[in-house]
């Protein structure tokens, strides 16, 4: 589904990604871990097409198409979803209105008929149940005055609405208490199936107790320096990142 080859990227004059290689297949969950400043969020942003980041080398193919050639909105329409670490506030625009615009633009892109208000509401109610979100929240202006947990839950609700092939969760666990973490993880797990994939970007292991990864990759200085299964995450939790850093410096 997603093949990243030797991806390099910089912001301003600062080189951040120094040759990432990653292969994600349908049905898989990959966790990207690593110390602060290792390039985790940059990787998520580059995949989503954020303009501040300049790709300086490598390639990314998504479902056989060149992802880096696509405009950000087309990446979304092709099925790439980014759950933001810091969801943005848009005053005066309700989540419902926002999602209706998004769903219908994506449907148009895919040559599907757009949904009228009634059918949209039908789909929405179904997804609301799935991710345990209250309609009162969706009537409010997008993310405005939301608590950290509400923002993240709202991201997962949007993911449910857009049914992406590939979801990238950027530090979705940050700022969540254990209850909120469970609800958010539950939502993600319910949305998983054989044909979609999830990349979980996180600093801590605890999220991975709930969203269990098939693979864990450790990012350090813009490179994946170690890959393994979920046991690697536990090891990191127990030992911290220092031993990884040492391993790298030995090489």
């Amino acid at each position: 589904m997603l093949t990243i080859k030797n991806l390099q990227a910089k912001i301003g004059e600062k080189q951040i990604l120094n040759g990432i290689n990653l292969e994600v297949k349908p049905g898989e969950v990959h966790a990207i871990m690593g110390p602060n400043g290792s390039g985790k969020s940059t990787l998520a942003s580059v995949l989503a097409g954020r303009e501040e980041y300049e790709v300086t080398g490598g390639e990314v193919s998504f479902e056989g198409k060149d992802l880096l050639e696509m405009a950000p909105e087309d990446r979304a329409r092709e099925g790439v979803f980014l759950a933001f670490q810091y969801p943005v506030e848009i005053p005066g625009v309700s989540t419902i209105n926002f999602m209706k615009t998004a769903v219908n633009q994506i449907r148009e892109y895919r040559g599907q008929p757009t949904l009228d208000a009634v059918s949209f509401l039908g789909v929405m109610k179904e997804k609301m149940k799935l991710v345990e979100i209250d309609q009162a929240l969706l009537n409010r202006a997008l993310n405005e005055g939301f608590s950290g947990g509400e923002k993240k839950r709202n991201e997962i609700f949007q993911m449910a609405m857009l049914e992406p092939k590939l979801a990238v969760l950027d530090e979705t666990d940050s700022g969540l208490d254990i209850d909120a973490l469970k609800i958010v993880s539950n939502g993600v797990n319910k949305l998983r199936n054989k044909s979609n994939a999830v990349i979980v970007v996180t600093h801590y292991q605890r999220l991975l107790d709930y969203i269990v990864p098939d693979f864990v990759h450790v990012l350090y200085k813009g490179k994946i320096v170690k890959s393994g299964t979920k046991e690697l995450a536990l090891e990191l939790e127990a030992k911290g990142y220092d031993w990884i850093k040492e391993e790298v410096s030995v090489l």
């Binding site: 954020r50 501040e52 979304a76 980014l82 943005v88 998004a102 994506i106």
Partner: protein, 481 residues
């Protein structure tokens, strides 16, 4: 942000949608302004002597006045002798119903999307259509007549209801109030008149569409709305104008007179031709709009969505004379390219426990300049007066300007005044968030701007709100840089 710039260029080069003219023979006065021209206008309109005298007096006062220079706008000097002050579409017979109206005029309205027949049949809105200076058709007059509501062209009111006109014309906006109101008083050609009798709630939205049609024609409208005790009316005004190379002058006067317990809601969507992307052409819009809450517990509410004109100079105001009376001003002013807007309101609190609310949302894009200018004046007698003002500015790109000039004048210590102001920029982050959800940039801007202006748009009657939303999106498409 080269991609944004590309979109910006592409979209700002879009031609003005309503840029066309109809071929109707006009019956015009020669260029220039003097007493003879005023006599010509008055004679053309078959006016009574008192009105001619009123006009001549206004003209005399105007000649002694100077064009105001305090507004934050720049434009080349206007040669008032180079303007045609009267232009009426030629019609052989006065139309009695729609079928008698010149088919060319009907076509004009159809292009504007306000076909009178359609309007009449489908929407139940009474439309008093103004093309250039003469009202060509008035609908629903009979329905309104049964309730005693008078809704007609100003000229007709002069003929049929001279007492009301004589009594109230100039009572809210005195002739010599300002340079442009004096000019209007001298040369106004037509407009709308509305009277709602005691205790009557007008069952439909009253609506006027203004349109400048002949080249070099100044448009001087005059609107007078009188709401008698306990009555209610919602009045809509919408404007579009065809494309012109030379600047056109528009100096309207709107007066609202609200008696005890009366409520008037006045909504405007203004889309005069703003000039091309180089700033050439466009309408100069110098308007004086004022409402007088004369009676106790009366209420006047202004809502405006200003997207057009090269220059906008406009301050719909309320004089809160009656005790417990209330004034409201809700405004969205959008400027793009080289447009300049200096707009806001005045709330003059005279009566006890008077309240006012100001919500102003400015949006500037391109090289435009957008100013909010407002005055809140609490007079000595205005015990317990309250005002709330909110002035927000939204900037798009880095070549435009937003300015706020609030004046607050309090002479009574029991007054409570709140003023909030914000300035923000459409964030790259907001746009990117939308893009990441599959929403294209144009729709993202439309979504964000409409969200920003929501509080004001919500004040508009339904059918107007939809039109206004489209206008906002159209005016600003791709202006993020």
């Amino acid at each position: 942000m080269s991609k944004d710039n590309q979109v910006l260029e592409e979209l700002t080069s879009k031609e003005y949608e309503h840029g066309w003219t109809t071929d109707i023979e006009t019956d015009s006065a020669p260029k220039g302004l003097n007493e003879d021209i005023i006599r010509f206008i008055s004679a053309k309109k078959n006016e009574p002597a008192w009105l001619l005298e009123w006009r001549l007096k206004a003209y005399q006062q105007w000649t002694k006045m100077k064009e105001p220079t305090w507004a934050n706008v720049k434009f080349p000097e206007i040669n008032y002798q180079d303007v045609i002050y009267y232009s009426a579409p030629k019609q052989k017979v006065t139309p009695k119903n729609l079928e008698d109206v010149d088919p060319e005029l009907i076509k004009t309205f159809e292009k504007l999307g306000i076909s009178l027949t359609e309007q009449k049949r489908l929407t139940g809105i009474a439309v008093d259509a103004v093309i250039d200076s003469v009202s060509v058709a008035t609908t629903f007059k009979e329905t309104l007549g049964e309730l005693g509501i008078i809704f007609c062209s100003f000229s007709e009111a002069v003929q049929k209801h001279p007492d009301l006109v004589k009594k109230y014309m100039g009572s809210v906006v005195p002739v010599n109030d300002n340079y442009f109101s004096a000019l209007n008083s001298a040369v106004f050609t037509d407009g709308s008149f509305c009277y709602i009798p005691k205790g009557v709630r007008c069952p439909m939205e009253l609506s006027t569409y203004f349109r400048i049609n002949a080249a070099n024609t100044g448009q001087f409208e005059r609107t007078l709305i009188i709401a008698d005790e306990g009555s209610y009316v919602s009045y809509l005004e919408g404007c579009t104008a065809p494309q012109r190379d030379e600047n056109q002058l528009h100096a309207a006067v709107v007066e609202i007179y609200a008696m005890k317990d009366a409520q008037v809601k006045y909504s405007t969507v203004q889309n005069w031709y703003p000039g091309d992307k180089e700033g050439k052409g466009g309408i100069y819009n110098f308007v004086t709009k004022r409402g007088l809450c004369y009676g106790d517990s009366s209420k006047i509410s202004w809502t405006q969505v200003e997207t057009g004109s090269a220059i906008t100079w406009k301050y719909p105001s309320c004089i809160l004379r009656g005790d417990n009376s209330m004034g409201e001003f809700y405004s969205v002013a959008v400027t793009n390219n080289y447009q300049q807007a200096d707009t806001g309101t005045k709330m003059i609190h005279i009566g006890k426990n008077t309240k006012s609310r100001i919500v102003s949302k400015g949006i500037s894009a391109g090289h435009s300049q957008n100013s909010y200018r407002g005055q809140v004046h609490i007079m000595k007698r205005a015990e317990g007066a309250r005002n709330f003002s909110q002035c927000d500015s939204l900037l798009m790109g880095d070549k435009c300007g937003a300015h706020t000039f609030p004046y607050i004048d309090v002479e009574n210590s029991t007054a409570r005044i709140e003023h909030e102001a914000t300035t923000s920029k459409i964030g790259e982050d907001q746009i990117f968030y939308c893009l990441q959800r599959g929403i294209d940039e144009e729709s993202a801007v439309a979504l964000i701007v409409n969200g920003y202006a929501k509080e004001v748009l919500n004040q508009l009657p339904m059918e107007f709100a939809v039109e206004a939303q489209k206008l906002l999106a159209l005016t600003l498409e791709g202006s993020v840089g």
